[in-house]
Subunit: 230 residues, 4 copies
């Protein structure tokens, strides 16, 4: 069942380790098969060492019910499902506690677009969610984490700003598929690191010029892109 | 004599090196056999390279007397013994001079619980001890280091906050056994690093919401935990 | 056609990866053959893994026309060409988004000569360009990036200060040839890191004494140099 | 001639690379044979890769004359010789531009003894020299660098504080022999890093209590030491 997707999601989870984005059993990647309405996700609290495609858990997009697996799905599964339901073009989602992006999340600050490295991938800042209410935390916490992210992206194309930092928590990134989501999580971590180092030199650094932001983003994305090979 | 424990303690000491928590001969791990009242600990000032289980030193919990060994025990042995006597559920103790946790110790500040990465392991801040008095330093220094830690944990379950930073010194971490203590020392170092990076972005960052702290800690610990596999 | 130069430029591009100066497909190196007026440069957006000399693109210095290749040249080619036209003694150019130099670029600050490590290679600060105007960004952006660098070096020998940080963007470095340009990009990254760490300790640190700057630069460069072997 | 010392000095120079204390051809180590009044030192500007004992240069302590070698000695040789003449118990000297120690040198600040990691090796702060005068820089610069270090250690036992940061320049470390000097340079870099990280958390952190400093230094050094094996 969904063998190719399981393999892709398993590989994407292991890539998190290779890329240095996770410690211990933290972090999880999922991918969705839109046709069948099924989501494949990492099991909860299982070591990366020895992780195989058959350990991936299949759940229903609409209900969260486990369709196939002896293992429990990631404890963050409900967050992933809320995002897949709201972000129709997203095919893969990553959650990590990677160092620099998590530091921005803990600082409860959006990551400003400070330069062209950022603008090449993100069309503006990496948003930070508002704090959750006590009610949102004590009931349906994981689903509500998804809801507060969706609220943050009201009116924003999620593929133009493919990540968020959840206040007092850490980053979620996404993409066209699981592989692309990991790629964006890697870029996010670099941008977060770069922005931190920039603040060290000039604490007042804010966003770059809007015209330069547009120039770089649209040079790589959209109908007039001219970066890379045809 | 206590061959299995010696092997476990030796491996835990070597894991400190693999995890990047020690430089030179700094750092030491011990484990306790509660039934016999004996503690196994690293010898003092011996290089990690070539360290073997038979080099581990066995001392009496109550007296500190060396029961078996040609080598002197770690100069911090008296600190370990005081902690074992006060913290009845602790089975292993680690002391390091790891970079980020030691920086917090030198800054003489507790590490606040700034986010869920922290809350997944610690039920609140990592405490910092008060400064020791001249008398405490000049006589029975190592035992008094233990006493000041115990004083800091008055009314706190040491397994709910499994480490401390000793002011102007460095971290001590502990756990159910020597392996678990090293695991907690690794997490502590990551949390200390993460908290430092957070301050760089927002120097005013303090503790996270208490409700969120409880949610994450109790999601992984205690009777209602639902993280990981059954 | 220009086989030796293609090999040198390809190797220099791969050295960027080895030296840790690039992530993803960012970064590009070029080299010039002054006799024929031809420039060899990395193709746009091609992965470093598997990059070969035959992938390098040959373009005309004066027109930017591709002379030989099935691949598009780097999107930054126009910047390189403007620099080669203005800096007659430069034989190789590097552009990266390396962490610390880019942080200075994002902070929109020149990197002061804070010590002898810097003075051994740079005869003064690493300049930072002014912000580009909206017009400069929206038309001929890449060529105008070159023009604003050239404007910054008015009256400065580019081989005495072999790099610049472009505001809100990142560093360009150069040298006698492609290999030397990469060498200077490596040194620049170390100097940028060193200067950032210095600000952390003393935020008021400015330039070193002029006499000491001259002493170190001229000890290694110019007719009275006495560093190294004859 | 002095084959054993050449081998030791060569190995110590290569250890600088292994320990991550040098980039490019920066850095040099020397060792002295007090009986013959001869100093063995690294040649100037020679790559570490392929460096062999026979490349080491032998110079006279009193005159600086090269006794044996086809290669020029390190451009910092005169600094080493001044230190050997003033510090009679020193057997090896190291100069590096290692990141964190050099940052303190550029910040023109002594490194305070902030905790026991420092006190285990240094009996107080790592001193910083005063700025050199224009005259001292323009004539006999390298010898004067040594003189300003010696001036800084007036009344201090150099083996109780086995390093200095030279303002706007970088660290010199020393020890009983070349190996011990490299060991102290490694510790110095860790202490410099640790002190920087501490300032990030609490910029007001100063020296530790004097009683605690004495306790830790004397626990490892001097007649009442009880650290390590007998």
């Amino acid at each position: 069942m969904l063998e190719a997707l399981k393999e892709e999601v398993c590989k994407a989870n292991l890539d998190l380790v290779t890329e240095g984005l996770v410690i211990q059993t933290f972090g999880n990647v999922s991918g969705i098969d839109r046709a069948s309405g099924l989501v494949v996700i990492k099991p909860s609290g299982v070591p990366y060492d020895g992780m195989k495609p058959e350990h991936m858990v299949v759940v229903e997009l609409e209900t969260g019910k486990v369709v196939e697996s002896n293992l429990r799905p990631s404890s963050d599964t409900a967050t992933h499902l809320v995002l897949y339901r709201a972000f129709k073009d997203v095919g893969g989602i990553v959650h990590t506690h990677s160092l620099y992006a998590t530091a921005w999340a803990q600082a409860k600050r959006a990551i400003p677009a400070m330069g062209t490295t950022h603008a090449d991938y993100w069309h503006g800042e990496v948003p930070c969610t508002r704090l959750m209410t006590n009610d949102e935390i004590t009931s349906e916490y994981e689903a509500n984490t998804g809801e507060v992210i969706v609220e943050t992206f009201d009116g924003i194309d999620p593929l133009h700003k493919p990540a968020v930092v959840v206040a007092s928590h850490g980053p979620f990134a996404w993409g066209k598929d699981a592989h692309d989501a990991v790629h964006n999580a890697v870029i996010l971590e670099y941008l977060a690191h770069l922005a931190s180092e920039t603040l060290k030199i000039n604490p007042a650094t804010g966003s770059m010029q809007g015209v330069l932001l547009d120039k770089h983003f649209l040079r790589k994305h959209g109908p007039k892109a001219y970066y890379g090979q045809k």
